[in-house]
């Protein structure tokens, strides 16, 4: 397992008018801790994840995973993006095993690992299906399967459930919680949903609008059970988070975002 440390991270996108996406961002995620990151659109949440995954080089500051400076993709860091990154031309099995294939694991070993993971995620029997033949929830499971097949100890997710309907979404949130309880990996979940952040984040990091940095951190030690959603603490925590977001001026953006998504 691995801890994640970010110190004074600055990321600038070059161009005619350079954009400072992140500036002076500090963040510590303990080994095996699940955190949620929430903030207005364009606060650099996705940029932060890409930097953690080693896909964007910092303009300044440092990113360390498991004590080592991140200079490129790391073996056991898994990244699940909003559109899941499934390749339409690969079957469920091939998609789930892609990480292993790229790392040169031979086919027989791959098959074993992949079929175990597909079993675990309720996807056995769908190994030969293509992503286009699956429901949104199942596609989401395939993306998770890819991460699990790698035995990831750091799981980075960028709004992975945002395309799902409300019920499937809760179902997948439960699955994410179960997986974390079982595996205790370090988890960074970027989300737009207050309830999701409170359900899945032991700490909830609120970010400021561009350039992004940490505005506030909400401790949420009670998370960790499926029944948490139905408790009063959960509701109070959601209200508290909502207030924090309002004071960051984030909610106006969020509403506009929701309206656009529904349209």
């Amino acid at each position: 397992m691995a801890e994640v440390e970010v110190e004074g991270l600055r990321v600038t996108y070059p161009g005619a008018a350079p954009v400072v996406a992140l500036d002076g961002l500090d963040l510590q995620v303990a080994e095996g801790e699940p955190i949620a990151i929430i903030g207005p659109s364009g606060c650099g949440k996705s940029t932060l994840l890409l930097a953690l995954a080693g896909l964007i080089a910092p303009s300044a500051g440092a990113v360390r995973v498991a004590g080592e400076s991140v200079v490129g993709p790391r073996m056991r860091t898994a990244l699940v993006l909003q559109d899941l990154g499934l390749l339409p031309w690969k079957t469920v099995e091939q998609n789930a095993g892609l990480g292993l294939e790229i790392r040169g694991v031979d086919a027989a070993q791959r098959r074993g690992a992949v079929s175990r993971v597909l079993d675990r995620l309720g996807l056995s029997g769908f190994g030969h299906a293509y992503p286009a033949e699956l429901s949104g929830g199942m596609r989401q499971r395939v993306a998770l399967a890819r991460a699990l097949a790698l035995e990831a100890d750091v799981l980075l997710m960028d709004e992975p459930l945002s395309a799902l309907d409300a019920l499937t979404r809760e179902d997948l949130q439960d699955l994410l919680l179960d997986l974390w309880l079982q595996r205790r990996h370090t988890q960074v979940l970027v989300t737009h949903s207050i309830e999701e952040a409170v359900f899945l984040g032991k700490r909830i990091v609120v970010m400021t609008p561009r350039p992004g940095r940490v505005a506030a951190v909400l401790e949420n030690p009670e998370m960790g059970e499926r029944t948490y959603r139905a408790t009063e603490t959960f509701l109070h925590r959601c209200v508290a988070l909502r207030r924090m977001l309002e004071s960051e001026g984030a909610l106006a953006h969020e509403r506009m975002d929701g309206a656009r998504a529904e349209a």
Partner: protein
């Protein structure tokens, strides 16, 4: 399997319709310029016994080699242009300057360069297919969603692996579409180039029959040329079904839903 047999049925129905229409037109016009299907069939059998097969072989060879050449040169060039902004900035304007020029006009130049054998015909068709594939592959490669590439790079994929797992499969269906479209053009250009120079190939066979006022034989050549087109088109269909299975998978769920 089901798809295959329904395809065969479709072709059978179409053939019957064409033959009936042809017969009606032939009887109605009553001119030697349009022989009946039966006369054509007779001429076709006779010609097959002589040298029609050889001409078919020559034409098929030319169009296949040329298409393969155009594909092998055009697809990688398009991929590289689509994925490298720097290269595209240099080569892009060149391509778009050359793309709209009808390549057929270069036939005289090619005749001077390559003589009157297979060379100029193959070169001309290859040139046409090349540009078609190049432009298609470039656009398709540019259209690959960045997230697909990011995802696989986060798994530690090298440039070569990104190409193998993402870029090539992503452009494959589009390349097949371009190939199928080019086939029509390729055969048309083949006919034209074979009538302009040389003494073999289906184009030459058809025009030779025409000059001898042997219209049934001429139609036999036309039929064989049409069949050559159908055969290439079908071969591409089968190849695409093999190599791009996922495109059918998506279509099936869409049908069900």
């Amino acid at each position: 399997m089901k798809r295959g047999s329904s395809r065969v049925r479709g072709y059978a129905t179409a053939t019957v319709l064409v033959l009936v229409g042809w017969q009606i037109a032939a009887s109605a016009l009553g001119t030697r310029a349009l022989p009946s299907p039966v006369d054509t069939a007779r001429a076709l059998t006779a010609a097959l016994g002589e040298d029609l097969l050889r001409h078919l072989g020559v034409s098929a060879w030319r169009v296949l080699v040329a298409t393969a050449l155009g594909l092998v040169l055009g697809a990688p060039a398009g991929l590289v242009m689509g994925r490298s902004r720097r290269l595209d900035a240099v080569a892009g304007p060149l391509v778009f300057l050359a793309y709209p020029v009808p390549k057929v006009v270069f036939l005289p130049v090619l005749l001077v360069l390559f003589g009157i054998g297979d060379g100029p015909k193959v070169a001309l068709i290859a040139l046409i297919v090349f540009f078609q594939i190049l432009v298609t592959a470039r656009d398709a490669a540019r259209g690959i969603p960045p997230s697909a590439v990011l995802s696989i790079r986060s798994l530690g994929a090298s440039r070569r692996q990104v190409l193998h797992h993402v870029v090539v499969p992503a452009v494959l269906p589009d390349v097949f579409t371009a190939l199928r479209i080019s086939t029509g053009t390729a055969i048309a250009v083949l006919f034209f180039s074979e009538t302009v120079a040389g003494t073999d190939g289906l184009g030459w066979f058809i025009m030779d029959a025409w000059t001898r006022i042997s219209y049934a034989e001429m139609f036999a050549g036309i039929v064989v040329m049409a069949l050559l087109g159908v055969a290439i088109y079908e071969a591409l269909e089968i190849l695409e079904a093999r190599l791009c299975r996922w495109t059918r998978a998506g279509a099936q769920t869409a049908d069900q839903g």
